[in-house]
């Protein structure tokens, strides 16, 4: 185990996230509707409309990190929800039926918005929730972007944004404030820009920041995106990362290798993985996951650019596009190998990884590996099996360097 120098901003993060949850708890009392949102969806509209956005996926990640996803899941499974469904959904549905809430209760919604850019699971889960909590539900539908983005699909999404805004006007009883939307979009742009600058420092050699750090520091870009808080946070973080770099505090001691990681971290095993990779002098430098929040909005065309950004997120793109994206990251960050996590919770990022491994290996000549597990539910994690995959990979990295 190596000695970590804690980030000073971690304190700020704690404060921010505390505030976020407090706000969630307070909102309903103060008459501010709580809107459930999916991670990749136009939260900017929700902030501009003055609602409180809440991310149940976050709750699933938290339950995973605290190692209770399996227990929450059992309450859902008792109702007939299969353990093959996404663990986030099982945690969310499980929490609705559970009698015990070891990580606190999910914040109950007044209204639910789902966007299926990420997956088809979220809409199904949120639909279930809308019946359980008996609240209205609105789906933003993103057809798969097969090749080049089509004008008609953008237009379809745009029409739906207008339907969403009309719906919000009805719910809030206020006309939608487009000036406020532009402000929020500006703040989102800033936070995304800073966040990506932080992520990019992982390309330095040795690097002051890596994927496991990013997994920790990403909460505000998800939850606070569109507010000044997120901008302040990432400005501070960027400053600190640069300072640490100057002071020679690196993400891992003695970085020999960098690898690309696909996709999401294994929350209950974050520490275990970060130490495993560090012990092999391997920095997990980059993942398309943490780069999901790279939006850039055109303030002159707010709705059009919201449509383009949220429809065309990589997870809604074709097989070949996503292979190319991995290749680009591998090149940009100077990776020496790649690790693909075949996450049984997530068909939307897991399917296709076997073929993608072959293609990426062929195109780059780099060593790469796929391993099986679940991002949150430890019943589907076998240390032995994962090590059985990763140990030979580390050997390959070393022999490739020789």
């Amino acid at each position: 185990m190596f000695k970590r120098v804690p980030f000073k901003t971690a304190g700020l993060m704690k404060k921010l996230m505390g505030e976020y949850y407090e706000k969630g708890a307070r909102s309903q009392k103060e008459g501010i509707p709580v809107a459930w949102m999916t991670a990749v969806s136009p939260v900017e509209i929700i902030y501009a409309a003055g609602l409180f956005p809440y991310y149940p996926e976050n709750f699933g990640a938290l339950a995973g990190a605290r190692k209770i996803a399996d227990k929450l899941s059992l309450s859902a499974e008792a109702k007939g929800y299969s353990h093959d469904l996404c663990a986030y959904a099982r945690c969310g549905i499980g929490d609705a039926y559970a009698t015990e809430h070891p990580v606190g209760k999910i914040v109950e919604p007044n209204i639910i918005f789902a966007c299926n850019t990420q997956c088809g699971t979220l809409p199904k889960w949120f639909e279930v929730a809308s019946r359980f909590y008996d609240v209205p539900y609105f789906l933003l539908d993103s057809p798969l972007v097969g090749g080049e983005p089509e004008e008609a699909c953008r237009d379809y999404f745009l029409q739906q944004l207008k339907e969403m805004i009309a719906y919000l006007e009805e719910v809030t009883g206020r006309p939608f404030d487009y000036d406020r939307l532009r402000e929020v979009l500006h703040l989102s742009n800033e936070a995304c820009r800073l966040w990506n600058e932080v992520l990019d420092t992982a390309a330095r050699k040795p690097a002051p920041f890596g994927f496991f750090d990013a997994s920790f520091h990403m909460a505000p870009i998800v939850t606070w995106r569109g507010t000044q808080e997120a901008v302040t946070y990432y400005r501070e973080l960027k400053k600190e990362v640069d300072e640490r770099d100057k002071a020679g505090i690196y993400a891992i001691p003695e970085e020999h290798f960098k690898v690309y990681f696909d996709h999401i971290p294994l929350w209950p095993r974050l520490r275990w993985f970060s130490e495993l990779f560090a012990s092999h002098h391997t920095l997990v430098a980059v993942s398309q996951y943490t780069h999901s929040w790279s939006y850039s909005f055109d303030l002159e065309r707010p709705l059009e650019s919201l449509a383009a950004n949220y429809l065309e997120e990589f997870v809604n793109r074709s097989f070949d596009y996503r292979v190319q994206l991995k290749l680009n990251f591998i090149e940009k960050y100077g990776c020496d190998g790649f690790v693909f996590f075949s996450n049984r919770s997530c068909k939307s990022t897991g399917l296709g990884l076997y073929d993608k491994r072959n293609i990426v290996a062929e195109k780059t000549g780099l060593p790469g590996v796929v391993f099986e597990a679940d991002m949150s539910d430890e019943r589907f994690f076998s240390e032995e099996q994962v090590l059985g995959r990763l140990e030979p990979f580390f050997e390959q990295l070393k022999s490739a360097a020789r």
Partner: protein, 380 residues
């Protein structure tokens, strides 16, 4: 032709699923475009001059798909891809994959790498159906699909051609629906297994020929004397009817399937296409008004109401949920659907299945026990 001959012929089509398509390709020197079940508008494929071939999975050697698809992928898609990799779908020149879930959304890219085809398209159904934007988008998507088919065939698909195809498929749906009615009225004349075998055959043979056979069959059945026998009335709900043997278990134990919402069942034949409208808009409208399915997302799960209402209208004594393992859309709605039936006092069981070599004895036992429970004494 006698009823027995017709049924035997259609059974043979199902036993040799490549028979009619190979024959047609040979005779017509044409191309075959497959589709994964079942919401793809066959009318368009037909109007483009291709043979529309419905792929409903099968008893495949799953190890062929294992190199491409994780074990937690549904066995419908795993078996379909396995069939392709085994060479059992090598007559296909193209494939259309409807977007019904995360599995179908991802499998097209995998398929194209594992088993490249000159024509592979996603049919991107809208996932919300109740707002005006959905219909406009669906018409766009149908038009796009039409254009892609035109590019592949090198010929324009005229409006007239689509209308002709629509008329043919409307006939086909009417005939198949008529069979359902006859089956319900006179179960002795056509069994559950026979009925659903015919739907399966419909996916595998030219509609023109099939319609002729169906006309003959219906005539024969209509002339047959009804032998009324009290039966246990059942509804089957799920994605795909698999394994077909389950129908034998039902037949043998006095069950009568009077309704279903399966892709290789009633979902295949429900709702007609208007013939006086713009044909693409008419195809879109059919899609939007089909019986509810788990992969659409109208917010309040109309399927559960549909189940209760149909069960009541059809005096159903029990519902069998036939669920493919790892089919997420079905699984998310199951609890709700089950609750709705429970509240209405309609007994139901859920049987989880997979495309494997043969159905287990356990499935037989469960079906028997369920029928016994809901049928009671003297009903059979």
């Amino acid at each position: 032709m006698h009823k027995e001959e017709i049924i035997e012929f259609l059974q043979k089509v199902v036993e040799k699923p490549d028979w009619k398509v190979r024959e047609w390709k040979e005779q017509e020197k044409g191309k075959a475009v497959g589709f994964l079940l079942t919401d793809v508008p066959e009318e368009l494929i037909h109007a483009a001059g291709f043979f529309p071939y419905g792929i409903s999975g099968g008893r495949a050697r799953m190890e062929f798909a294992d190199a491409h698809l994780q074990s937690w992928t549904c066995s419908f898609v795993r078996s379909s891809l396995s069939l392709a990799l085994e060479g059992k779908l090598d007559f296909l020149d193209g494939l259309i994959i409807p977007q019904t879930c995360d599995t179908t959304r991802n499998v097209s890219g995998i398929w194209q790498h594992a088993n490249p085809l000159p024509f592979l398209q996603e049919y991107r159904l809208p996932r919300q159906v109740d707002r005006p934007s959905a219909r406009n988008y669906l018409i766009y998507e149908l038009n796009r699909l039409k254009e892609e088919l035109e590019k592949f065939s090198g010929r324009k698909i005229t409006e007239e051609k689509i209308k002709e195809s629509i008329a043919l498929y409307n006939d086909n749906r009417n005939l198949l629906a008529r069979l359902f009615v006859l089956h319900e009225q006179n179960p002795a004349a056509i069994s559950n297994r026979e009925l659903y075998t015919i739907i399966e055959a419909a996916l595998l043979m030219p509609v023109e020929i099939l319609n002729k056979y169906l006309n003959g069959l219906i005539e024969a059945l209509e002339n047959e004397e009804a032998a009324p026998k009290s039966k246990i009335r059942l509804f089957i709900s799920g994605t795909l009817l698999e394994p077909l043997e389950i129908l034998d278990f039902i037949d043998e134990n006095g069950g009568l399937v009077v309704g279903d919402d399966l892709k290789n069942g009633s979902r295949y034949i429900d709702a007609q296409v208007q013939t006086n409208d713009d044909p693409l808009a008419a195809l879109a409208d059919r899609q939007l008004k089909r019986i509810p399915g788990a992969f659409y997302d109208p917010p309040h799960n109309p399927r559960r109401h549909f189940l209760v209402k149909t069960a009541r209208d059809k005096k159903v004594q029990g519902v069998i949920f036939l669920h493919l393992r790892n089919c997420e859309p079905e699984n998310y709605d199951f609890y709700d659907n089950m609750q709705a039936l429970e509240e209405s006092g309609i007994p139901a069981i859920r049987i989880e299945t997979e495309f494997v070599t043969a159905p287990s004895g356990q499935i037989r036992t469960r079906v028997e026990a369920f029928l016994e429970m809901i049928g009671g004494e003297g009903n059979v």
